[in-house]
Symmetry: C2
DNA sequence: CAGTATTTGTCCGTATGTATC
DNA sequence: GGATACATACGGACAAATACT
């Protein structure tokens, strides 16, 4: 008959009302909220309460307030940074095994290359190709690694899918964090780089030919070849189903 | 040579330090932060600053503070609610289209069925089968819908991959939120249910036969058949590349 | 270009309801 | 049940930062 209730803080209701106004279109991106003093009179709460609500909205990427701006906090356009943050926290704190992350990365990048092969525009392909050129001419390892990141980012962007872009960057970052110790002590860095270059050249060819299934398969195979060695023997079986076709 | 700087507020550095402690494992889920008064002495800031930092952490789902608890704010385990919130926000401000979400869901579930077909155990298969039985005998639509959710959840769990489980649940929830208006006015609910049952029965057969590529293809085709009609004509082209093979 | 007014950032003090021991 | 410590919320205050005249 009755349902349990939880106390709703004052600042939460302030957040709700401002959120509703933003979602409802009364506060479009680029517009400004009233000043903190105006808000405390409109909501009938103290300034501390208003400020706590504004901090929450700011951490969610909805507004941005600058000291001294008489126009009030600025309403920002929606951006995937909050999505990126929450996903990173989830990936880092859920204590996921490296095998799970690699599995997810293989299916993500596999699908990304499949889509990119069929949907890419000329400029996006040029961007990917430019990243590969930078990798080829890179002298030190950090420059090579940065260009490698740019290559994968460009492919993800070519899919035009926000979720793929965000998930790819997050998962790649967490994976690299987990194995950076191994990479730092890698002695055969030169062999690694040449293998990467070969893989990337092949997959770029497949993209250019708009051969989605080939690009996807090459990408998954490359990931397996590059990272499976960091995995316990038993965990590699969870990746092999993704290598087929 | 120089990069632009932005003033770092005091509360942000408090957030950063607490976040680092949680990520680093010094503050595992279930443990407690020092009280607000302790925190203000440790960080050397005022009460308001500490509180604004705690509000940000609370809105991100990392901590929970209750009035009067002498143990201090509770550190929560990672949960996908923040992910759900940020995704919903992006979708509602139409900076992420329904097409993108469906595209992502198709590749996610497609891979999930592929993995589940090859990795599932007997008990997991029984769980999936039980959900389908519940769907078959369901009388009202809500019971049918709940069993449908249970079916998909059981498949996701069979992959043993946390990222797949979390992302599938969140994306499915956001998609359903977006089209619930259309569903509420659906007149051909009975036809919908029979079609769902047919699809689920077929895919369960593929799972049982450990035919991963068939299960994957059936799942993607079912998603397209069920949801493509809610999409603008032009957006459907972004889904068709995922139907092949 | 400088001055002024306003706003935010931060601090302190206080009262009240609440959870734990 | 009482004592204690806590979070919540309020109000006032000052300095730094910004926009506008």
């Amino acid at each position: 008959m009755f349902s349990p209730v939880s106390p709703v803080r004052a600042y939460e209701r302030v957040v709700e009302q401002i959120e509703a106004a933003v979602f409802g279109g009364q506060l479009p991106p680029g517009s400004h909220l009233p000043s903190e003093r105006d808000l405390m009179t409109q909501f009938g709460v103290s300034r501390s309460t208003v400020r706590e609500a504004l901090r929450v909205l700011q951490s969610n990427g909805m507004i941005q307030s600058r000291a001294g701006d008489p126009r009030g906090p600025l309403v920002l356009a929606a951006s995937p940074v909050a999505l990126h943050k929450s996903m990173t926290r989830l990936a880092r704190t859920s204590s996921m095994s490296l095998g799970e992350l690699l599995q997810f990365r293989m299916l993500l990048e596999g699908s990304a290359y499949l889509l990119a092969a069929q949907l890419h525009t000329a400029s996006q392909l040029a961007e990917i190709s430019a990243a590969l050129d930078t990798m080829t001419t890179a002298t030190d390892y950090t420059a090579f690694s940065d260009a490698d990141v740019a290559f994968h980012d460009a492919v993800a962007r070519a899919t035009q899918n926000t979720m793929i872009i965000v998930c790819s960057t997050v998962v790649r970052g967490v994976v690299l964090d987990l194995i950076e110790d191994h990479l730092a002590h890698a002695t055969d860095r030169q062999a690694l780089m040449t293998r990467y270059l070969k893989h990337h050249t092949e997959v770029l060819e497949a993209l250019r030919a708009r051969n989605g299934s080939l690009a996807s398969q090459l990408a998954r195979r490359a990931l397996y070849d590059s990272y499976a060695s960091y995995l316990p023997e038993a965990d590699r079986a969870m990746l092999t189903p993704l290598l087929e076709n």
